[in-house]
Symmetry: D2
Subunit: 342 residues, 4 copies
């Protein structure tokens, strides 16, 4: 690569933004064009984190999106739409790590986020950045909607089954457990050390919520006419900093043998650099994937009881956010997909 | 109580044994007769734990079971049988916290524990000490089989449904998460701080194992002819010292309304001092029950998707072991059931 | 006790306030008169914490201080002065857990807290509630200034040396480590799980600060004309919820033997129910004291290198705050000093 | 580098050995020749750790030291001597991460390790691998004694003062706190999660021990005739997986101003890639250095009280062990010193 890709980051001081700065700073083909922080403009990143990365933080109106080839948005939902417009107008590729372009239907967006979307036409244009499943569309995308962390862990675990129609009409139960960084760096009581430590806290149990809408949308995309009927999604807050582990229960596909199921997964993911399919007898744990862009998947067949259990783990800040964003950038710009990620 | 109950503890130096020493030392109606430790005989408990309790540890052959009214066995399975014989012959009530008397069928015991039981007739005599469900039988028991920690958390959560036949033919999924003290104090790599910390580790996923045999046995006892068909049980090792949280998925009982289900639980557990039924909108967490003998239960109905989710938490060392043992002793000796437990 | 002591708590929803509610609710001679929370008035404590304690929270102007015999103030400094006035006027004993009455000199108070004290005469009247050292004065106190958590751990460790003049002109180095609950329940980035977990963070190293002023004041009180010259105090934030451990370095007292020093400590604290002097060869750890009102102290002589090292631990929320407040109440009202604390 | 350096690792399955495998596997100029594990020969590293690194473990007599250019020994002390002999005879450079070649005097070795050294002449030949201070000697070393983790954190913090003679006759107090991986992966009660979690445990307080011998030896090397008189070293076990933080107290150098001291450090370490000198107002924390080969140092002058406080942090497995070993290899083989370490 003779000319580096110039990357701008908006929202550089949250956990996701900082992870992205770290990844891009070490990326062999990227040059950091700017890092925006509304609240901390004028400071250096080293004043906010114990890092030697000496990145100046700029105010939103101090930067020119035209100085970036790619714009990463690490913003709360609602606030990414204006930056998307600015980025696209400036000719940059926009990779939106917020939830603002994940749902394709403006009405669904309104329902879950309580906002009228400012540019509904972009909802249908945006490419959903679950890299392993949308690689072709990503190569020419102007706007990439980076998936949520929970959806990434669940969709990668179920992709082979969905594509093959094996979850048709199924009720899928996803019992997910996430580290605290998923809640962001905004100070709130529920993220305090004393509240989380030595505790395990299920939340939104039995409720439909935003991640369910995103996952069910992709169930329909991947499963087509043979999509699952339902998702029961139970998130739990774990006393760890990073990582998501999903324990997923689906009905055993009638007529299938264990070997055939394992072969389906092996073939589907044979050439994927970041999917780590564990051999029989091993179980995915958080330690398999934290601080990496990998997704580890283990299959646990219980055909006698009519169940297949799948365990998947990712690092919520890497494959669940900043790492997958870089992976999507690599695909979009024709780089080695693993550049800066190993 | 004019005369205190004399309690002997065998296996006083594991986490369960030490918890029992703590509880009994503060119990208003109990006097500690002896504490046995094969390995640490001759030492004081204060040499093994940071505790001011100055309890001498004695060798097995140094103590006379006749000096105890009740004998608590905190031993590995297999080794509790000989002590049970000694205790019963000496006229003591035996409360066995090991797994040696939980299964009623000698063949099932052999299958799961790989041993021929030394006194199969005691398997049918032993009363399963899930206090809330077996109180009457406990009042006159000679031998009490204290339940396992996972079974306690799952059976208390499902008791009202089982008794009413609402789980007939159901597949029950219990996604359970446990603190590390459940693995005991024997040094092994998998319990080391560095292995557990910042990790979440599912184990035995999709396997039948000992706790499943125990739970399914009690499903049959409580559910009778209308018992569930299956239990899918997925334990996970949490990076916390204490506590079990079970997230349980069962089919929504056809024809029932949420209000009626809540009323069923409220009535069933109306007078139970240690069952804490949370109001709608609250979710049980580990913090609700650690360091107490309580079991917290929250109901999360999803009738539209045909599911009922139940979350239950206990402290594995208290309600899941030593606390329930004391509760059973209280019942057996006609004491206030909460004595020494609040 | 025929008539219970009526206790009011102001500021019941912070970590210290909640700990106090827990202790007083289980105290055999106390009745909770009211619990005040400006922010959460109208709620129950059970809405803020996972607790079955169903304590209603009231607004400041809803309660009548005359309904309390003792008023506990768990407030930020600055705001406790007005409540102190109200409590004293109503005839209640006031136990102030804030820093508002710990410093005796109004100028020192102004210097460290940046405020003019509203009632400087109360600074000289207030009795410093380090129970073990001020028991006599506490018996008739109207206003008790409950000590800070760090000062409690350091002063109890050094008391015997100070009283005997053995630290005359010494430089004392206290390297202290504290759990996160000491920073309170107000949400701030520095107390978030992700910031504290897997980290150790020294703060205010080499700076004089408020706790130093408090400790040096008490050095002068206990040491009189033979007080130490200096205190070097280095606090560190530990990834634990509770507990303070201070490792204290002082010059070896010239001419003393180890046995004589140990005897000095043993005699000084011989009848203290909450001071736990460890035998030679044992070292105080957090686990010795968390969830108790004890202070554990171990002595580590290094006479050949001219040093004495003392390790002391307390639970910052118990002996370092709420527990010592209850202990002081017990002394003040002529109760058994350990009531409600074991 | 056309020809990669062939590296052999002996003792590849402990925490240090595994860290070394990770570092070397990603090193651009190294090829892993073999990995030896006496206990786990025949297995793959992936069976012991959640890693995709598919490294076969070989028995000691299966490997030929001549197939390696450099031999890393991650062994318990005592057992590294035989491998050192084998490696040197085969013509390999030996980097010994055990304590077997750190002490130069056979009598001192015998005193602290209770063993007669098998090759006392190697004690004087071995170069102490504190890279920043011994770089020249390392370039031609046959045998490199990699420093202990505590000594690394303390010596790097004090190096500039020692070299300038500013600690002449001083008593140095090092209050050090270490993560649990420093205790190794051998299962023992004191390293269990439940023992370490929510605890802080000082150990060997006031005792002379092996690390003191090593540090005092290097005090003499760096300080020469103006070395410190004493080291008081207090290690504490922290509830974190990785990292060492040392809070070090030394007398303020008479006649020096803060600016001059800071300049001394800045100049000494101006060109060091792994020494991170923090600016005034910032304090080193574990988070500054975990998972890196850096040593972070912050200076906290208290001249009015006659003290200088220095805080230093490293990752005990990286700069305190495997990372520094790689750094030493880089120096020894003429590579970029940071290769494989950033």
């Amino acid at each position: 690569m003779s000319t580096p890709i110039r990357a701008g980051i908006v929202g550089a001081t949250g956990y996701t933004g900082f992870e992205l700065v770290r990844l891009l700073s070490a990326h062999p083909h990227v040059e950091l064009a700017f890092a925006v922080s509304r609240r901390d403009a004028g400071k250096s990143l080293g004043e906010l984190y114990p890092t030697p990365l000496d990145v100046p933080l700029q105010a939103p109106d101090e930067v020119d999106p035209r100085s970036a080839d790619v714009l990463f948005l690490c913003l709360p939902h609602g606030t990414a739409q204006e930056w998307t417009r600015r980025g696209l107008e400036a000719g940059a590729v926009v990779i939106d790590l917020s939830a603002d372009h994940r749902l394709r239907d403006p009405a669904t967006y309104r329902r879950w986020y309580g906002l009228e979307h400012a540019a509904p036409h972009l909802l249908s244009e945006a490419v959903y950045g679950l890299t392993e499943w949308n690689r072709e569309a990503l190569r020419s995308a102007r706007l990439i909607a980076n998936p949520g962390c929970y959806p990434t862990s669940i969709l990668l675990a179920l992709g082979p089954l969905l594509k093959t129609g094996l979850l048709e009409e199924a009720t899928v139960i996803a019992d997910s457990k996430s580290g605290v960084s998923g809640a962001g760096r905004s100070p709130k009581v529920s993220s305090l050390f004393v509240e989380v430590n030595e505790n395990l806290k299920p939340y939104n149990i039995g409720h439909l919520h935003r991640h369910v809408a995103e996952i069910e949308q992709e169930f329909a995309v991947l499963g087509g006419s043979r999509a699952p009927a339902n998702l029961i999604f139970s998130p739990h807050l774990l006393p760890v900093s990073r990582g998501i582990l999903s324990t997923i229960y689906v009905p055993w596909p009638v007529g299938w043998q264990e070997g055939a199921l394992r072969a389906l997964y092996a073939e589907t993911y044979a050439h994927e650099p970041f999917i780590w399919l564990l051999p029989p007898g091993q179980t995915a744990t958080l330690a398999h994937t934290v601080h990496t862009n990998r997704c580890a998947i283990s299959l646990h067949p219980v055909p006698d009881q009519g169940q297949l259990i799948i365990v998947s783990t990712i690092d919520n800040l890497v494959k669940g956010a900043a790492g997958q964003a870089v992976q999507n950038m690599n695909v979009r710009f024709g780089l080695d997909e693993t550049a800066g990620l190993t």
